[in-house]
C-alpha cells in the first residue's frame, strides 16, 4: 500500500509540532529512588492523558501517527524521570525527527493524615511530566524536562478579615506550578543513567510530594479529603490566622522556589474561586533563574 504520509512535500514549510493528543493510557508512576522524604510514594498506578509530537521537516508530507502509539507501548506504561528521556529519544528515532516532545497529565494520590485526628485518606493532585529531546548525530542531544503539580488549597482574604467584625471570606484555590530542575534523572535502577550519576543524597531530583508541600505551605491552609470535627476546627483556625491574597500565595511560593538551588526555572499561577464573586482572582509569576 502506498505511503501517502511519506510523500515528498513541496510547500517548503516545516511544522513545529505534529502528533497525537488525548491518548489515555494506564501508567505506573515510579519515583526516583533518591527522592527525599519518607512519605514519597515509590510506585503508583494511575491513568494518564498523553500528548506526543515531533517537528516535521519541510520535505515530508506527513508524520506516521501509529508510531507514537507504538513508542508508548514500548515503555510498558512505566513512567519515571529515568524513562522519560528514553521515551522522548525513542520518539525521535522512530519518527526520524530532529525534535520530539511528550507530556503526561495524570491524577496523583498522596496518603494524607488529618492534622489532629491523624485519620488517613487519599488526596488527589493533577500533575504532569513534560519532556523534549532535540539534536542530531553531530551536535548531541539537548534534553529538557518539566515537572508540574496542580495543588488545590484554601485562601482566606486578608482584606475581608481586616474589615469584617467576624469571619472572613475564604475559598478553594488552585496553585499550578511547573519547574525545571538542575538535577534531573532517575536512579530508579542501579545506575540511573547519565543523569542519575549526578545525584547525591543531599541533592536528589525534585518529585511531586516536595513540590506539593511547597505549594500547600504557601497557602492559607491545605485541603484534606477526610476531616473529623477536631480537624475541621484546626483547619478553620489555621486559615483564619493565615490570611492570604492570591498575590501573597504566589509570592510566598516564589520565595521558596528562589531558595531552592535545584530549581532553575519555574512558572506558578494561583487561581482563587472567590466565594463572594462568580469569577476568579489570579496571579502568575514566571522566572528563569539561570
Amino acid at each position: 500500500m502506498k505511503d501517502v504520509q511519506g510523500e515528498r512535500d513541496f510547500r517548503n514549510i516545516p511544522i513545529n509540532r505534529v502528533g497525537v493528543r488525548n491518548v489515555y493510557y494506564p501508567i505506573l508512576v515510579v519515583a526516583p529512588s533518591s527522592a527525599e522524604g519518607e512519605n514519597v510514594c515509590r510506585e503508583q498506578s494511575t491513568v494518564a492523558s498523553v500528548s506526543m509530537s515531533v517537528l516535521l521537516p519541510h520535505e515530508f508530507r506527513g508524520t506516521h501517527m501509529s508510531r507514537f502509539i507504538e513508542t508508548l507501548e514500548k515503555c510498558h506504561g512505566r513512567i519515571s524521570l529515568a524513562t522519560l528521556p528514553s521515551i522522548a529519544r525513542g520518539l525521535r528515532d522512530r519518527l526520524d525527527a530532529p525534535e520530539a516532545a511528550l507530556r503526561f497529565d495524570f491524577p496523583y494520590f498522596i496518603r494524607k493524615s488529618a492534622p489532629v485526628s491523624k485519620n488517613e485518606s487519599f488526596m488527589r493532585y493533577e500533575v504532569s511530566l513534560e519532556a523534549s529531546s532535540r539534536g542530531d548525530c553531530s551536535s548531541g542531544e539537548d534534553f529538557d524536562m518539566i515537572i508540574g503539580v496542580g495543588v488545590p488549597v484554601q485562601t482566606l482574604c486578608p482584606c475581608s478579615r481586616e474589615i469584617a467584625e467576624h469571619g472572613a471570606h475564604n475559598q478553594r484555590a488552585l496553585i499550578s506550578l511547573r519547574i525545571r530542575c538542575a538535577v534531573q534523572g532517575g536512579g530508579t535502577s542501579a545506575g540511573g543513567g547519565a543523569e542519575g550519576a549526578r545525584l547525591s543524597a543531599a541533592s536528589g531530583p525534585i518529585w511531586f510530594e516536595e513540590l506539593i508541600r511547597m505549594a500547600e505551605d504557601s497557602a492559607s491552609a491545605p485541603l484534606f479529603t477526610l476531616l473529623k470535627r477536631e480537624d475541621e476546627k484546626f483547619v478553620t483556625e489555621r486559615a483564619y490566622e493565615n490570611p492570604k491574597f492570591v498575590e501573597d500565595v504566589v509570592r510566598d511560593l516564589t520565595l521558596r522556589l528562589n531558595a531552592e538551588p535545584r530549581i532553575t526555572w519555574y512558572a506558578v499561577s494561583v487561581v482563587s474561586s472567590e466565594s463572594i464573586h462568580n469569577h476568579d482572582a489570579f496571579a502568575e509569576i514566571v522566572r528563569d533563574k539561570r
Copy 2:
C-alpha cells in the same frame, strides 16, 4: 435523490428521542409582560445551546435533522414563554411526530447593585427553558414547560463556625432549581395565547429573576460581580451571621417553593465546593406538589 431517512423500518422499535444537540444560536429572551417585579429584564440578547428532539415512530428509519434547524430559524431567535409552545408544536408538525421536546440553555444577566455602595454591574446566571408537546388530532395537545436557573451563592459552614475560635470556612456553591408552574404562558403580545388568558396581575407566570431571588435568599449570602470594601464587609458579615449547610440551603429554598402556589413541581440541588476539601458536598430535593 433518495430519501433514506424516510425508508420503512422493520425493526419495530420506536425511539424515545431523536434530534440535534449543542446547536448554538443567538437569541433574544423576552420576559412575560406580566412578570412581576420592577427589576425584570424585558428583553435580553444572549447565546443559547439548543437541544431539539422528537419521538420517532417504529415505522420510520430516521428523522430529518435539517428540519429541526429550519424550525429554529422560523422563530427568529425570539424566545419567551409565549413562543416556546409554538416552537414545540412547530417541531411536531414539521417532523410529523407524536411528541417533540426542546431545551434552551443560556447565560442570563441581571443588573445588580452592591449592597452598600450601590455600584452596579452584571451578574451571570446559567438558566434554561424546556418545553415539550405531545398529542394528536383526536386527543388534543399535552404541553409541558420547565423553567430552570443556576444560581451561584455562598455557603458558610455552621459546624466550622460553632467549633472554631475565629472564622468559619465558606465557599462558592451552586443552586440548581427547575420548576413547573401552574400559570404558564407569555402575554408578550396582546393576547398571549391560550395560556396568557389565564394570567392575572396578582399571579403572573414565574420568571428567572423571581427564582433567582428565592435561591439567593436561601443561601448564606448572594454573590456580586462588583464589590467595594464597604460591600465586602457587608457580605462577609452577612454570611457569618447566616451559616448554612447544603442541607439548610436546600430546605430553606424548599420552604419558599412549597409556599408558592403557582409552583406545582420542583427539583432543587445545592452543590458546595467545600473550601477545606477537594470534593463537593451536595443535597437534592424533588417534589411534585400536585
Copy 3:
C-alpha cells in the same frame, strides 16, 4: 465539641439525597469470577470519581459528611459487583439512613488487537457502577445496581453514502449504555454472597467487556488506539459497508439488549459529532423489560 449536624430539625422536610461528589479515589476493579469471555480483565487499577449519598430524614439537621469518606476507606478501593452491595449497606449503617446510593465513574481499559495486523494497544472506555440500598430491620433490604459503559465508535451516514458519488461523511460518536441485570453479584470470592449463589456458568453477571462488545457491534465500526495501514484500510471499508444513522445504531443495540434475558432494564443514547455540522445528532431509548 458540639454536633451541629446532629441537631433536631423542625422544618419537617426530608432530603432525597445528601452527600459528597467528585471524590477522586484510586480503585482496583475486580471482574466477577463468572464473567464470561476469555478477554475479561480480571483486575485493573484505575482512578474513580465517586459520589455517595443518603436520604436524610426530616428530623436531622445534617448528615455527617466525613463518614462517607470513612466508608470508602473501609473498602480499600476494591470495587466489584460483590463489594458494591456491602459498601452501599455500609453507608446506610454508618450514616443511620433509610436509603444510601453511590456511584463510581472511571476510565476502564481493554487490551485490543488491530483487525488485520493484530497489533495490540489499550483502548479507554468511561464506565460506571451505581448501587443503592434501602430498607430497615422489618422490611429487609432493597438493593439495586446499574452498570454503565461509554463506548466511542464510528458512524457513517447512509444518506450521505447514498447520494454522494464518492465517499460518505462519518465521525466519532459516543454510545452511552446503562443496564440493570437480573443476575447481579459477584463471585469474586468463593461464595460470592447471596447474589453469587444465584449464578450459573451459563448465565453469569454481565460485565463491561460484554456491554462494550454489544455497543461496538451496533456501530458502523469500532475505534482502535493503534492501527497500521492495513488496519486503517479494513476499518475504513467496514464503516463504508456498514452505514448507520444514530437511529440505526440505537435500534441495533436495542435488538441486542432485548435478546439478552439477563438484562431487565436499559437506557441507551448515541451522540454523533457530525463531521458536516458543528452540532451533534442523537437518539435515545429507555426500556424496562420487566
Copy 4:
C-alpha cells in the same frame, strides 16, 4: 477602612500578572468600518468571558480587583479594535500599573448559506480578542493586539482514501488561529484613533470573517448548521475530492497567512477528532514574520 491591598510589600517580588478571570459579560462586538467584505457583521450582541490583569510592582501588597470590573463597566460592553486600546490603557491608569492585559473570548455568529440550496442559518465560531498596553510617561505606550478564531472544519484522510476501496474516514477538526496584524485599530468612529489613521481602503484591518474564511478554505470542507440533501451531497463530495491530513491543513493555511502582508505574526493549530481513533491528531505552526 484599612486598604490592606495598598500596604507596602517587602518580599521584593513583582508579579507578572494579577487580575480577574472568567468574568462573563454581555458585549456588543463592533466590526471596523473599514473591514472588507460585504458579509461582515457590523454589530453583534454576544456574551464574553473576560480576563483582565496588570503587572504588580514589587512594592505593593495587592492589586484592587474591583477596579477591573469598574473599567469593564466603563466601556459599556462595546468591544471593537478601536475600544480595546482604550480599555487596556484604562486598566493601566486605573490600577496605576506599568502593564495591563485583557482578553475577551466569545461565540461569534456568521450567517451562512448552504452551498447548493442557499438556505441560511447561523454558524458559531469561538473567537477572541487580546490586547495589552505597557509603558510610562517617558517611554510612551507599547500596545499589542491579537485576534483569534476557532474554526470547526472537516478533514478527510488522504491515506484512508488512497488505500480503501470505497470511502475514506473523515471527521470534525478544529482550526485555532491567532494573528497579529500590522494594521490595527478600528475606525468605528470618525477618527478611529492613532491606529485608525494608518488605515486605507485597500488595506484595512483584518476581522473575524476574513480569518474564518482563510481557515475554512484550508480544510477538506467547511461545516454548516443547515444542509438539505443536495447540500449534503455537495459537501460530502467536496471533502472526498479534497483529502487533507492535519499537516496539509496547517500548511495550506500557513501559505495563505504568509501571503497576507498585513499579518506579521501567527500561531495556528489543527486538532482532528479522528473518527477511527479515540484520540486526536494535531499539528501546530507558530511564526513571526517580522
